[in-house]
Amino acid sequence: MTLLLVILIPFLGALIPPLVIRSGRNTCAAATGGVTLLALALLLSHAPAVFSGEVPKAAVEWVPSMGLSVSVFADGLGFFFAAMILVIGLLVIVYARFYLSREDPMGRFFAYLLLFQGAMVGVVLSDNVILLLVFWEMTSLTSFLLIGYWRKRADARQGARMALVVTGGGGLALIAGLLLVAQAAGSWQLSEILARGELVRASPLYLPALLLVLLGAFTKSAQFPFHFWLPHAMAAPTPVSAYLHSATMVKAGVFLLARLWPVLAGTEAWFLIVAPVGLATMLIGAAIALFRTDLKGLLAYSTVSHLGLMTMLLGLGTPMAAVAAVFHIINHATFKAALFMSAGIVDHETGTRDIRRLGGLMALMPITGTLALLAAASMAGIPLFNGFLSKEMMLEEAAHTAYLGLDFLFPVLATIAAVFSVAYSARFAIGTFLGPVRRDYPHHPHDPPIGMWLPVAILVVPVIAIGLLPELVAGPLVALTAAAVIGGPLPDYHLALWHGITPALLMSLVAFAGGAALVLAFRQADTLRARLPRLDAQTLFEIVTGTLVVWCRRGIGALHDGALTRYMGVTVATLVAVGGYGFWSATHAAGTRPMLPVTAPAVTVFAALVLASGGTLLFHGERLTALILTGVVGVVVALVFLQFSAPDLALTQISVDVVTTILMLLALNLLPKTTPVETSRAVRWRDGVVAGLAGLGAAGLAYAVMTRSGASISDFYLAQSKPGGGGTNVVNVILVDFRGYDTFAEIIVLGIAALAIYALLDPALKGAAVRRIAAMLPREESRDAHPLLLVVATRVLLPLSLAVGAYIFLRGHNLPGGGFVAGLVVAIALIMQYIASGYGWAAERMRVDSQSMIGAGVAIAGLTGLAAFVFGRPFLTSTFGYQHWPVVGTFELASAMAFDLGVFLTVVGVMVLSLAQLSRVAQRIDPVPETGEPMDVLLEGAPPGGPGREG
């Protein structure tokens, strides 16, 4: 299980930096580093097992039958990547502490960084394919946040967006691809899929799966022709570039190719696609890097080139090439992260990253200069540094590769790429650190604090150590990782400095000579390049996305034209059409269930409904009339419930009706009082016909069901209500016990709705809204704002209503009633106080504010549910028992009562909050009400607000 924690800790730890940033930047960085260190320690606790050949696993099953589980495994490859992500993460955190300026919000930065770290570790350790995809998407999202960290900068935002579009788009393809792979292999677990390579390669799904997976991997790892996003992502702060764009995220694509190597590699299609893409990327990246003037841009294209190198090696499909790829991943991570950090230091100290304005820094910042030169030597592939070793292996592999019968293609192009790589490394080193000291740096440079150069130094140690003693330092790690990539026996190889006179050595020598020549002739080469036609990938990207956006907008604009009437009309008309088609294309017979006899009262009520509905239809322009008629309809509905054995529903309906009507009256107070007729007669007839057909359909469907008998699951509830739930009111027992989950969620939704109402109305007392409210003055006002009769009646009724509420609540478990109805009754009694005596008077006397009541209600219901855990039962399991008290007698006490209390409190809070807020807004346009006590009798001719006003 500690393996799961390795992923979980960075995610949970992401909460810490924003919280502790108040204690200072050092504390914040230390806390972030601590989180990473903890994850790393947990990971390394598995190291002995992994190196002894075991594969630690951990899993939490969710829906195993659908392949949904949170399962992770750490084989050599996953372990190596996870360790690399965490170690370099740690160094980057230290570096970032000193890199970020005081103005940069550090808490946010470290939170993003840890989220990214968690996602990245998740990608490399996932066993379940779907889990891997989820983490993959998360790396795209978190890298978007990190690239766009300086959100005020346009280039940061654009770079972030481009990275998200490209990697996110590739992610979509990857989802499809991996699902196909899982389908072909018949398993959702990578550890099983890896063992079924034969099956996948033989499947007809292999080619589409391969293409989709490659699309995902190539976009993520910036392979040609998707390489253009990476340089733009360099708008990110340098720690991000060092972490994401050299060591981790861009390696995710390479990781995926390595991960799926035993499954997908080894076929002709794999070789024909992956190898040349890698080769082309390596060559193009290196060529562009040479002519970059921005240090980070140069390093970015160099990274593109090296990613191409790894891709090409994996694409060759031979075990030996896979070993070389793994070795190069290790080497590149060390020297490239060191170089990015050095470039950041230069930028930080001199104020510029433009290679044309730099030079001679070696004398001014010797530590940084030395470290950067060592790392650059490795990048160039100079012997005694680790970059040389893996590059030699790459050249050796390329030398033996024939593509489509062309023996020379790979060796020649790989050598040319190596020439460029030597040249740009030299340009980086010479242009920045060597040469004469200049006088015109924007800032006066000197070596940075130790916190900034120490991470670079730590990274340079393996650069040299591996370079000198490869087998001793990196041998076991390479063997472990490569074995996991190959998924079979390792080829016979030897990591060493000297292999004799090999083709690779000769190619290296050519590269050094060519690179040196290119540096010397840089000016001429640059002139030549300027004359060449340029294909700017970014312009192409913008044309493509721009066109897509235009077309999407056209499509959306045609459908989504901002007219609610149209959306509703189309929806209803479609429903009617589909329903009508279903009806006419099927056979049907009349139902056989005997009908109940029609009674005279029923016909009367029906007639009332027809009148009220018809009235609403005809007079909906007069809003007050329509509202009153709607209230009548509500009463009819309550009567329907009452007639057909649903006393609980009738009670609820009638109380909700009261509250709804009051609510709408309050709103109507501020809205226009009439609706103008703006539509033509034809449109109204059309709407009427559509509505009528829909009504006919609904009525017909209801009639068809009512005249047929059917089996119901309700017998269970009826039988278990008393013995299982301890109550005789089955409806209430279902609500608070059998289906308590539903009810619990429902009161949460209600609470959210009420809080949303509060959030919507609270700011309505400012800005344009308040001017509009002010403009509504003067209005018709009743001379008597608080009618004495109403005030007295509501106050007398209050205790009575509360008692009724309590009674309804208490009996609810056994007889019609319960938390919902009781809550409504109490809420109405309270709201009446607001109506009768004014908002100010009532709000002053409400001891408990409604927000707390909602919170308390949800909390009580939730805690009641959680209490079941104490007894080892599932959430919301209820219990009941019988108590015997003297005088009171024997009565029943059910835990569901406490749950119902939560419901009660929530309902009261929601109703009072919504209506009180509305009346608070409405009160703004009433200048009169708050004059003195509502019970004061205004004498004829007395100035309003005169005698009764207090304080």
């Binding site: 054995s645 529903l649 409806v731």
Partner: protein, 117 residues
Amino acid sequence: MELLVAGVIGILTTVGIYLVLRAHTFPVILGLTFLSYAVNVFLFAMGRLVIDRPPVISPDAPAYTDPLPQALVLTAIVISFGMTALIVVLALRGYLETGSDRTTLDAARRTEDGDGA
């Protein structure tokens, strides 16, 4: 009686949909109220119509009506209040901010929106 209840559902649906198709917020809100009524009665009717058999366990009761649709409708009634209240407030806020209670963007606003400015 079934026919009458079906009639109730039909009338409520018709009025509800007609009002929802109006171009101002207040009729639309009333229409939604009607539709909630219609849906609640419809759901309730799925338990079939039974007279004088409330689902309250008692030794004297010969039979009970189906309690499940009632439980569902009870929560639906309360939730539709929450929804109505939210929509009322949205409509009110919209009116107070813009001075219009129409449910359609006028032509000028629409093109402005379409340009994504």
